[in-house]
């Protein structure tokens, strides 16, 4: 039982990490926490669901298409709503309220189109169980954790080893200097929104496969937990997101084990409150010097 819970925790925690990375990437370049990220996550899961259950596409084709569409949605949100605000220099509360509004639109349009009830989502890796040390562990969990790991490594390679990644890091450090050196800052931002949305879509698919359902309110709680993970690890830090995700996921699973499932969601929220009260920079985040 104990080992199974740990594996469950790792699987779900890695999914949190994948969502958390999306928060971190956008925060890195824009110093903006994209409130609509959890709605994009839900949209991604639905996009894949439509491909599989309504259009009866091959699962991998459906995932590919769903992820691409969600990535485009991410770009669209930035271009239509956020970029005009940046041009006007309105980056504080107006940007926040805009992202809140966008997430609200996405969720309610999904509700109008698909209804608010649960929809069955295919278990992607329904390959039975493996028995280790007397514990029965689902392939599903193992594969989800592995898939997340592969994606996180890929993202980290994109950020650290490619030319686009270099441009991204340059914009993170000094947007003006990056622009002067010929980096198209808007392209970088677009790219980041695409990557963030696409990874959210994959995470959405994996989490939906884990629970085997989707519905419009699906991302609300998970988005919040992923944010808790990002905050715990330190917003803006990729390893931090993974660490935070794993901690939140495992602690939550163990809390189910110890306390039952009634108050399970509270664990992540309380972690978030505690972190933001005691150490707002998170475990791996760095403290900046305030300029006066």
């Amino acid at each position: 039982m104990f080992l199974e819970q740990i594996v469950n925790g790792i699987a779900i925690g890695m999914s949190y990490a994948l969502v958390a990375v999306g928060y971190s990437m956008v925060f890195g370049v824009l110093r903006l926490i994209n409130f609509s990220h959890s709605a994009v996550f839900t949209f991604g899961a639905f996009a894949v669901w439509v491909g599989v259950e309504m259009l009866h596409l091959n699962v991998f084709l459906a995932i590919l298409a769903g992820v691409a569409i969600t990535g485009v949605l991410g770009i669209g949100l930035n271009k239509m709503a956020l970029e005009p605000l940046r041009k006007k220099g309105e980056t504080g509360m107006p940007a926040l309220i805009t992202t809140i509004g966008m997430s609200y639109i996405i969720i309610n349009v999904l509700t109008i189109v698909f209804g608010s009830q649960m929809r069955r989502f295919p278990a992607l890796f329904n390959w039975g169980q493996i028995h280790i040390f007397g514990a029965a562990i689902g392939w599903q969990q193992v594969m989800i954790a592995l898939a997340c790991l592969v994606l996180l490594v890929t993202l980290s390679l994109i950020v650290n080893k490619t030319k686009s990644g270099l441009a991204m890091r340059a914009v993170q450090q000094q947007p003006t200097a990056a622009a002067i050196n010929g980096i198209n800052v808007n392209h970088v931002i677009t790219f980041v929104f695409f990557l963030g949305a696409a990874s959210a879509a994959i995470a959405g698919t994996l989490v939906a496969a884990y629970y085997q359902y989707v519905r419009p309110s699906f991302g609300d709680v998970i988005g919040l937990k992923a944010f808790a993970a990002a905050v715990l690890g330190g917003i803006g830090s990729l390893p931090g997101a993974v660490l935070g995700g794993l901690i939140v996921g495992v602690v939550e699973s163990l809390a189910v084990f110890a306390l039952g499932s009634t108050y399970i969601d509270l664990v992540a929220y309380l972690v978030m409150f505690a972190v933001l009260l005691i150490r707002p920079t998170g475990l791996l985040g760095r403290k900046g010097i305030k300029k006066v």
């Binding site: 903006l32 926490i33 409130f35 709503a81 005009p84 605000l85 309105e90 504080g92 509360m93 107006p94 940007a95 926040l96 309220i97 805009t98 992202t99 809140i100 509004g101 966008m102 997430s103 609200y104 639109i105 309610n108 349009v109 509700t111 109008i112 609300d220 709680v221 919040l224 944010f227 808790a228 905050v231 009634t262 108050y263 969601d265 509270l266 929220y269 309380l270 978030m272 409150f273 933001l276 009260l277 707002p280 305030k290 006066v292």
Partner: protein
């Protein structure tokens, strides 16, 4: 100075109206007339209209409540319905399970909401912006989760039935006798009064300073946290007060009565009208609160169409709220009536006229 005077001559109607209301001779009778008209309203309107007016009233009080936090301190709170819920549940449990009288229960509930406001202000003291918005959302989920699951206290998913009607000196409020209408009207006036008195003092100035530039506020000797706490406690108490009337008004509440949609609606109200202004809250709630009913009315015009082709007004209402948020931020982030007033600053009474005009 000359320039200013010339501007005064060409100013538009709204400024003149504002000037008029500043003159005591005109403002007092106009205000009294408005109150009398508002008092007469339930006598001449249908119960349907009255019900909608009451809902506008509830949202107006909630708007004034959130305005302290979002309008004056400048922090977006996404969990404001939590206070509304706490007020409602507290008063319901005190008047049913604890068998307490209505008004003592109201006082206790409002104090409890103030305490939660304090708690939230404390828990969020080191963050701002989106972090804070997300924490307030988590606060909302936390509160609702506990209300849903703590069966021993809140009756869990079943909710609370048969909440006794609110009453004053044994006179029970109903829709028919207008009790709820007059009570919420009194609460709206109370909200206006308290906002007006507080914002026109050092407390309001300090809150606005914290909103505009927290560091510069600190350097002016302001303890930012003190004023955040004041705003959150006041906001909590005011929303709680609304909740204590909402519960008996509904007669039955459960954990689904208070939703994220409600939180967002309160926010949309002050964004639409103009955060940090009183007229903004009033106009915002007049526009936003009846929107659902207006949509329902519009859609019913097409009732010759088969039902499955008709949009669901509830869901579309929410999409419209989202659109309002995005579009307002793009076109008029300060809200319809927000932004800079073209009226002069009001000098305190007793200041020499000449001095006041600089």
């Amino acid at each position: 100075m000359k320039n200013r005077k010339e501007k005064n001559r060409t100013e538009n109607v709204s400024v003149r109206l504002g000037m008029l209301f500043r003159k005591k001779k005109a403002a007092v009778p106009a205000f009294l007339l408005l109150i009398v008209l508002l008092c007469l309203l339930p006598q001449v309107t249908s119960l349907y209209i009255q019900r909608n007016l009451i809902m506008v009233g509830f949202y107006m009080v909630l708007g004034f409540s959130l305005n302290f936090v979002t309008g004056y301190i400048g922090e977006v709170s996404l969990g404001h319905a939590a206070f509304y819920a706490i007020g409602a549940f507290s008063v319901s449990l005190l008047t049913t399970d604890a068998g307490m009288g209505y008004w003592p229960a109201v006082v206790l509930s409002v104090l409890l909401c103030g305490l939660f406001g304090l708690l939230l202000a404390f828990a969020t003291m080191r963050v701002s912006g989106t972090y804070l918005a997300i924490l307030t959302l988590a606060f909302f989920y936390l509160v609702m989760n506990i209300i849903q699951n703590w069966e021993g206290l809140t009756h869990g998913v079943v909710g609370i039935y048969d909440i006794p009607a609110a009453n004053i000196f044994g006179f029970a409020f109903t829709m028919k006798n207008g009790g709820y209408y007059y009570c919420i009207l009194a609460y709206v006036l109370f909200s206006i009064l308290i906002t007006r008195l507080l914002i026109g003092s050092r407390f309001g100035r300090a809150m606005k300073a914290v909103r505009e530039d927290p560091l510069a506020a600190t350097m002016a000797g302001i303890n930012n946290q003190t004023f955040r706490v004041i705003a959150y406690v006041l906001a909590g108490m005011l929303a709680g007060l609304a909740g204590t009337l909402y519960a008996p008004f509904c007669g039955y509440i459960n954990y689904l009565t208070f939703t994220y949609n409600m939180c967002l609606m309160i926010l949309v109200i002050i964004i639409t009208g103009g955060r940090g202004t009183m007229k903004g809250v009033i106009v915002g709630s007049l526009i936003i609160a009846p929107l659902g009913e207006v949509l329902r009315g519009l859609i019913s015009l097409f009732d010759s169409l088969p039902a499955e082709y008709l949009p669901d007004p509830e869901q579309w209402r929410f999409v419209i709220y989202g659109l309002i948020m995005v579009v307002m931020m793009r076109l008029r982030p300060q809200g319809i009536l927000g932004g800079k007033s073209r009226l002069d600053y009001r000098m305190p009474a007793g200041l020499d006229k000449k001095e006041g005009n600089g």
